[in-house]
């Protein structure tokens, strides 16, 4: 078990955000958090590096501390069978047919039991436990006498889960005091309040801060990407739901009409994702004959590299066929790029056809929109400007933080429609 992260010395951090989102927004956060000062909150997920959840917590926890809460971040760990099981859960919740053998359930339960014992002193004394995704969901069964509040945060699209997986997990989840889903369409019916909170990006994270042109172009050069030719980029884990082979098909269809176009597929492996290597090999095989397709396997901390690639690309693609939310879409929009995204999940609330990009269902649809945008460069710019403004208003970490604080009042005050403080 890694040592807990507790970062308090960030008093200037929130003021830095005021330059981006406005001082009114930051002032609002301090006002809202004031009655919660000193509240002990523990977040638990399964990895500190790689994946959207870790990225959110990396910033969310220090910001909560900055607002006067006592927030910590812990992780659950386990052996290979634990990760195999939770990967199967992940796929099963998203509707991919999986059958989880009994031995994997046992590994899952053992990892949760072990983590529960390690964290018992902390979790017993905290006010609020926020458990992220299925990996640590079973922790709650080890605290039957709890007097604090427990919230399960599901970052995955759980709209059509595999019955075996959901039935099993529901046995744990229904004991929580509330749950959080990213979108209403992802949510399950549960015997407690189901809050809806979209995720966010951090504009001050290395992945999103402004970069100078030299640094951006250096990243292209490093990977042998021609700086003078157009570039399409998809950033995501090598995962079937992200449809990297579909992106290659779309690129091939468009290339006839956009000579010289290059495709970059950039992704990393997360420590809880054993299937990634299999998909990566399939992608490499599909791209082998074409020097203009760059398949990059980046380390989990290659944030500035991803930032640079996003900034120097012409179009950001996220052609997922299933998507939890699609934070890479948000990141691309923040860099003023038009998006061609799969018509699924959270991509739908970020991409508005003809305004911030296009929603597509097939490689053919993606190819058509690639051609259209390269024929209409002004439209690309216009979409990029709108996209950034939309993210500033709706998908930055400050909004996310506000909703967590609001939820805390909801959890503490019960289910009344209107909670009037002091």
């Amino acid at each position: 078990m890694n040592k807990a992260i507790k970062v308090n010395d960030l008093s200037k951090t929130l003021s830095e955000y005021s330059e981006i989102v406005g001082s009114d927004v930051v002032g609002h956060l301090f006002q809202l958090a004031s009655p919660l000062k000193g509240m002990r909150v523990v977040h638990i997920n399964s990895t500190r590096m790689g994946g959207g959840v870790a990225e959110i917590l990396y910033k969310m926890v220090p910001l909560m501390n900055d607002l006067g809460l006592d927030a910590r971040w812990e992780i659950i760990t386990g052996g290979p069978e634990f990760y195999e099981c939770t990967k199967a859960f992940h796929n099963g919740i998203q509707g991919n047919q999986v059958v989880v053998p009994e031995i994997l359930f046992k590994a899952y339960e053992a990892a949760n039991a072990e983590t529960a014992e390690t964290l018992r002193p902390l979790l017993k004394d905290t006010d609020l436990v926020i458990v992220h995704d299925p990996q640590p969901a079973a922790l709650i069964r080890h605290f039957p006498e709890r007097r604090n509040k427990w919230v399960w945060r599901c970052h995955i699209d759980a709209s059509h889960p595999v019955r075996q997986v959901w039935k099993y997990l529901q046995g744990y989840v229904e004991h929580y005091d509330a749950s959080i889903f990213s979108l209403s369409s992802f949510a399950r019916r549960l015997p407690h309040p189901v809050y809806l909170i979209a995720p966010s990006i951090d504009p001050l994270h290395e992945k999103n801060v402004d970069l100078d042109e030299t640094e951006s172009l250096a990243a292209r050069e490093k990977f042998g990407i021609d700086p003078d030719r157009p570039m399409l980029l998809q950033v995501s884990r090598y995962d079937r739901f992200k449809d990297p082979l579909g992106v290659i098909a779309a690129y091939r269809l468009a290339k006839r009409f956009v000579p010289g176009v290059q495709l970059v597929l950039a992704g990393g492996g997360a420590s809880d994702d054993p299937e990634g290597a299999v998909v990566l090999n399939e992608v490499r095989a599909a791209a082998a004959e074409d020097p203009d397709i760059h398949v990059l396997l980046l380390p989990a901390d290659a944030h500035r590299t991803i930032n640079a690639l996003q900034r120097t690309s012409d179009i950001i693609i996220q052609k997922s066929i299933r998507e939890g939310f699609g934070l890479t879409v948000t990141e691309g929009m923040w860099k003023q790029k038009p998006i061609i995204g799969g018509d699924t999940g959270g991509i739908r609330i970020q991409v508005t056809n003809h305004h911030t990009g296009f929603l597509v269902n097939t490689p053919e649809g993606a190819a058509l929109r690639i051609r259209y945008l390269f024929q209409n460069r002004e439209k690309m710019k216009e979409m990029g400007v709108k996209a950034k403004a939309f993210v500033r208003e709706n998908f930055l970490v400050t909004r996310h933080l506000r909703e967590y604080l609001t939820l805390m009042f909801g959890i503490l005050h019960g289910q009344e429609d209107r909670i009037v403080l002091g």
């Binding site: 001082s23 009114d24 927004v25 002032g27 609002h28 006002q31 809202l32 004031s34 009655p35 709209s159 889903f181 209403s184 369409s185 949510a187 019916r189 309040p193 189901v194 809050y195 809806l196 909170i197 979209a198 609330i349 508005t352 305004h355 911030t356 403004a389 939309f390 208003e393 709706n394 998908f395 506000r402 909703e403 604080l405 609001t406 939820l407 009042f409 909801g410 289910q415 009344e416 429609d417 209107r418 909670i419 009037v420 403080l421 002091g422």
Partner: protein, 229 residues
């Protein structure tokens, strides 16, 4: 009724934050929409008419409430979408009145429509309700000029609470700013008229804040100018 101001009292600036809660109720066609509308929590009706101001929504939607947007995008019924879009929630005294009118429009349409339209399974109307947390900012304003000075810096939550939500709390459907200013006598009459002309339904909260600030500037600065002559 919860009021924040009384005649002669300072204006207490409050702020609010809204969080969405799934109700689990979903409609795939108009009949289901009508049935759920009849029984759903009033906080859900409120959310679907006003909640768009405080949650992610592209700033140029074709229609301005969630019912109209769904009918247009997912049932592809443009006439009904237009009828629902024109509903102005600010003009109804209570949420129940607004609910009743919405149901009437849907029912009337169902009566005339020969075949029901179904939305795809992943495009159902999902009823959401809101929970609002209201908190003090510890700012008290004694005179309208002070309110004018701080208006540009108010959070959008404050604008929502005083300019939108106030209509639900004040008996005459007035927003909190107008309610308080009307207690100041004739000197604020033209300012109140200016505020009354701001349509709260077709702008973002940031735009509303700008429009309010312009009204205050125009009418209070003009008045100061006249006094200085």
């Amino acid at each position: 009724m919860e009021t924040t101001e009384h005649q002669g009292e300072p204006f207490a600036i409050k702020d609010c934050a809204l969080i969405a809660i799934a109700t689990g109720e979903k409609a795939q066609n108009l009949r289901e929409l009508r049935e759920i509308l009849r029984r759903i929590d009033p906080a859900s009706v409120y959310y679907h008419f006003w909640g768009g101001l405080l949650r992610p929504r592209f700033d140029d939607p074709e229609y301005h409430n969630d019912f109209a947007i769904w009918v247009y995008r997912d049932l592809h019924d443009k006439p009904l979408a237009e009828q629902l879009a024109v509903l102005d929630p600010a003009s109804y005294e209570t949420i129940e009145d607004l609910r009743s009118e919405t149901i009437d429009i849907v029912e009337d349409h169902l009566y005339r429509k020969e075949t029901p339209t179904w939305a795809p399974r992943d495009r159902q109307f999902e009823f959401i309700r809101s929970q609002i947390v209201v908190f003090n900012t510890n700012l008290l304003v004694e005179v309208p000029e002070d309110l004018m000075n701080i208006l540009p810096d108010l959070s959008v939550g404050s604008i929502f609470f005083h300019f939108i939500d106030g209509r639900r709390r004040n008996e005459n459907g007035m927003d909190d700013f107008s309610f308080w200013l009307s207690s100041k006598g004739s000197r604020c009459r033209s300012l109140c008229q200016c505020i009354a002309q701001i349509d709260p339904y077709f702008s973002s909260l940031a735009d509303l804040r700008g429009a309010l600030a312009r009204c205050f500037e125009k009418h209070l600065r003009d008045e100061q100018g006249h006094q200085g002559e």
